[in-house]
Symmetry: C2
Subunit: 207 residues, 2 copies
């Protein structure tokens, strides 16, 4: 049994979908960002980074989406969510996920989390103005060079797919023109049609 | 045979040390940042992200340090650089590496790469002022909660060790007080004494 600590509209959705894809037994615990529960002593004892996602497992707590996604794939090999027996293919998938966490998600975060890296409201506004360009450049690279199609890694659906889908929820709000990245948009639409994705989103919004 | 594309004083050192630790056969190709070679057509054909590291393998090119490090560990299992047969332990190691790339390295990058996320020189100065705090908070979390000791993951040396060591080269320049993170500093000193580390650093500076 796993417990996924999540908040709606955050990157925790990727791990949620992957748990569904894996057929895992899990429960959800919503962290109330509206009341800054992520900074409460109770949650800091679970994840001192004060972020979601975190996942409690029988062995302990895991954080960081790329690591959690790979753990889910490796824990449920029958679900075939990653190329487990091919180190190069596994590394290509991990490289994609690493780019999402360290470059795309970080660029996006400058729209609303500028206080992590600066103090002046004028800097926050400057950062916000840059987001369409910085996030847009990430999506153009994904569109042209990284998304193999039909799934991120090609013919096989992997844990990279729910991760890209999750971050792609935010691209219009980031000011990215969807008409410039038709393959990303098509991938997002196809993901949205999958029962596990619909179920995960509905669960997050219902609780 | 692998080819590691690197630049001195960058995070490519982590993969360089890991290749040494693995006993891999590899060659180095220095990318001349002084002449912005990372943005040359030749290098963009290798890595369209215009960054180092990149690594050419017989199967293709890999980028992103956490993915490259895990690939090196998985390609040379006899070197025992990762807990390959324990998904939870592997995930804990990946989580550490993911934190380094998406949070610590990103915080550091705001000292000299503010143009990635803003346009105004005043914003760059604001970001630079924040670096001692943002990078310092990362190291305090590593010191108090993440670095198990004596190695990052505990008794076993893993690919997380050269990665932390590499980023820890920059902490004084980032304005972090080393006296507040004695365990990180001790880890860095112990790494610096290792022959593979000395050899890797000497090679990067000699070419």
């Amino acid at each position: 049994m796993f417990t996924l600590y999540y908040a709606p509209y955050t990157c925790s959705l990727a791990s949620h979908i992957a748990l569904e894809d894996a057929g895992a037994t899990y429960q959800l615990k919503r962290i109330d960002f509206g009341n800054t529960e992520q900074q409460s002593p109770g949650y800091l004892a679970i994840n001192p980074k004060a972020r979601v996602p975190a996942m409690a497992t029988p062995r302990g707590i895991l954080t960081e989406t790329p690591a959690m996604l790979a753990f889910i794939a490796q824990s449920f090999p029958e679900a075939r969510l990653a190329p487990m027996n091919d180190p190069f293919a596994f590394a290509e998938m991990q490289s994609f996920n690493s780019y999402l966490c360290s470059t795309l998600h970080v660029a996006h975060a400058h729209r609303m989390r500028g206080h992590r890296w600066a103090d002046d409201p004028a800097s926050f506004a400057d950062m916000q103005r840059k987001v369409p360009q910085s996030v847009g450049a990430c999506y153009e690279l994904i569109e042209s060079r990284m998304l193999k199609g039909p799934w991120v890694m090609g013919e096989a659906y992997t844990i990279a797919d729910p991760y890209l889908f999750t971050l792609a929820q935010w691209l219009e709000d980031d000011g990215v023109d969807p008409s410039r990245i038709p393959r990303v948009i098509e991938h997002r639409a196809r993901m949205m049609g999958m029962p596990n994705v619909k179920k995960s989103i509905a669960e997050e919004l219902a609780i």
